[in-house]
């Protein structure tokens, strides 16, 4: 609209359009409502202003009117609720074929780990037209990943992963803001999301990550930290075989069944006693304080990659687990 006074950010994701549509609808009905009430007040104030000889007419009320202006607004509210809930459901349900980026937020910067191995700080390169799933955690306090142009926001918590996803529709550079107050330089914890055409993005990718893919890094850690000692890929290990674990339903010692998502894998590394798999003992040591968030992400990516190709995430290099004869070397 007006060049110098924009009313909303660029629409650069599939979500942006639906969010703006709901917004415009709400602005419209709010304006109508306000206009109606203000007009009535003005009209009543003038028409029934104090005049000599005129007394007010004492009106008790009207049940019919009360019920009308209770249920009609309520009906409109329910309509808004359903519409908005539908959008939210989509916002919180990442599609299955998303490419993934691990995010570590800390005071006061954003660290990104692409699964291909690239690392970025405060800048995030993504391809246009692809679903991107952010797996995010914080090293310290609560932050929030906010890209106004995509109309998405998700708090980033210490101690667990939270997930956000988007599908960028327009190449360009867009603001990234931290949206949960996090201390001194909260307002400086900003960056850019650079949406690129597919060809450009491929070029950027091949511009090289010094290390291998994230899952590769994780595989190295899996060996060097001694995980493979107990988590063997046969049935002899003192710990469960992790092949095909990701998104499986796991039966625990206490009878609960949980889904092995990213948070489950992460928690199992940091607080192994919290969820002990049925048939195993709580002997796994904790790695809390021993590994960094980035290393944790690499391990999670590695464990995820142990799934069969069909279940794996698009773009995730598929790593075969070493056979039990493969010597485990410290790297």
């Amino acid at each position: 609209m007006f060049e110098n006074l924009p009313l909303w950010p660029a629409r650069a994701s599939t979500t942006a359009g639906s969010v703006d549509a709901l917004y415009v609808f709400l602005v419209t009905i709010s304006s109508i409502m306000c206009l109606a009430i203000f007009t009535m007040i003005v009209v009543f104030a003038l028409r029934f202003r104090r005049r000599a000889g005129h007394r007010a007419e004492q009106i008790e009320g009207s049940n019919a009117l009360e019920l009308t202006w209770t249920f009609i607004p309520f009906g409109i509210f329910l309509f808004i609720f359903v519409w908005a809930a539908y959008i939210y459901f989509q916002e919180r349900t990442p599609p299955k074929d998303s490419t993934e980026v691990y995010t570590v937020a800390k005071q006061w910067m954003w660290k990104f780990q692409h699964i291909e191995g690239h690392r970025e700080i405060n800048e995030l390169h993504v391809p246009v037209g692809r679903n991107v799933r952010m797996i995010m955690t914080s090293q310290d306090v609560i932050h929030s990943f906010y890209v106004p142009a995509f109309r998405i926001k998700q708090d980033v918590l210490p101690g667990k992963y939270t997930i956000a996803w988007f599908h960028a529709t327009k190449p360009g550079t867009y603001h990234l803001f931290c949206a949960e107050y996090c201390g001194t330089m909260h307002s400086g914890m900003i960056g850019e999301v650079v949406v690129m055409e597919p060809a450009q993005y491929q070029q950027w990718l091949s511009g090289g990550a010094a290390t291998g893919s994230l899952a590769n890094t994780g595989q190295g850690l899996f060996a060097s930290l001694g995980c493979s000692t107990c988590h063997r890929f046969d049935t002899q290990g003192r710990g469960p075989n992790l092949t095909g674990l990701f998104s499986k339903q796991v039966l625990l010692e206490d009878g609960r069944t949980v889904s092995a998502d990213e948070n489950y894998i992460r928690e199992s590394i940091l607080s192994p006693a919290a969820k002990v798999v049925s048939g195993f003992k709580p002997i796994m040591p904790t790695f809390q304080g021993i590994i960094s968030e980035e290393q944790l992400n690499a391990l999670v990516a590695y464990v995820k990659s142990l799934n069969a190709p069909a279940a794996g995430a698009a773009g995730t290099p598929n790593l075969k687990p070493p056979t039990s004869q493969t010597p485990v070397t410290n790297q």
Binding site: D254, S271, P272, A273, A274, K281, P282, I283, T286
Partner: protein
């Protein structure tokens, strides 16, 4: 507040119009008493909300970290806890008897029952101090240096979960003990006034209100005891 001798009549209405304890903004002793007791009940509801926050947190973490809570609970001293529960129940009995004595105007009985109540309260606090000392010397206080040993005297695999249990243990029993200290103070205060002859059938609302407070604090302990001491009598397999 000046001290007055109690009037000997045991009929409330007979002294209503000239009752020196009637405050100026109330129309009758009945209204004053009604309002006073209602005020104490409303206050106790706020106390329920105050403790409620901690109980809610406890329930959430117990669900999440059950084995750690079991381990923590097994390190409670079952016998001290049980004795303390009996002590508090007895103190509620003597408190109730004190209120009854005030209603019937038996001055010596009021004082006697209140003093026994104080004694029970102090006994509770003393036992709690012994327990705290034990937990402290076993490094069972959350923070650096927290330690929990299992039945083989090895660090329990559920140590970090048990640390959450102990956070709640110290916070909840700590606030409870604080309320007990305040309670002992209140009971002492009305014991003093009872000894000076302040209470009788014409005016015993403070005794009744302190009684309500005391029963409430007792009731909080009745909930704390099973939640902290009686989670399980078996170690989690480990």
């Amino acid at each position: 507040m000046s001290l007055r001798r109690s009037l000997l009549s045991d009929s409330t209405t007979a002294v209503a119009t000239h009752n020196p304890d009637l405050q100026h903004h109330f129309a009758s002793m009945e209204q004053q008493q009604d309002a006073s007791v209602m005020g104490m009940w409303v206050f106790l509801i706020t106390e329920i909300m105050f403790f409620g926050g901690m109980f809610a947190g406890y329930m959430i973490y117990r669900y999440l970290y059950y084995p750690g809570f079991v381990e923590g609970s097994l390190h409670m001293d079952f016998w001290w806890g049980t004795i303390n529960t009996v002590v508090l129940l007895c103190s509620s009995l003597t408190m109730a008897m004190a209120v009854r004595s005030a209603q019937t105007g038996q001055r010596k009985a009021i004082v006697g029952f209140l003093v026994v109540t104080i004694f029970f309260g102090l006994a509770f606090l003393g036992i709690k101090a012994v327990e705290y000392d034990g937990h402290w010397s076993e490094h069972q206080f959350p923070g650096h240096g927290f330690q929990l040993l299992d039945e083989y005297h090895q660090p329990s695999p559920y140590t970090s979960q048990a640390e959450v249990f102990f956070s709640f243990y110290w916070a909840m029993t700590g606030f409870h003990a604080l309320h007990m200290v305040i309670g002992v103070g209140l009971v002492s205060w009305i014991a003093f006034h009872a000894w000076r002859g302040r209470y009788g059938p014409h005016y015993f609302t403070p005794v009744e209100n302190v009684g309500l407070y005391w029963h409430f604090v007792d009731l909080v302990w009745i909930y704390l005891y099973p939640l902290l001491y009686l989670i399980s009598n078996k170690h989690v397999s480990g």
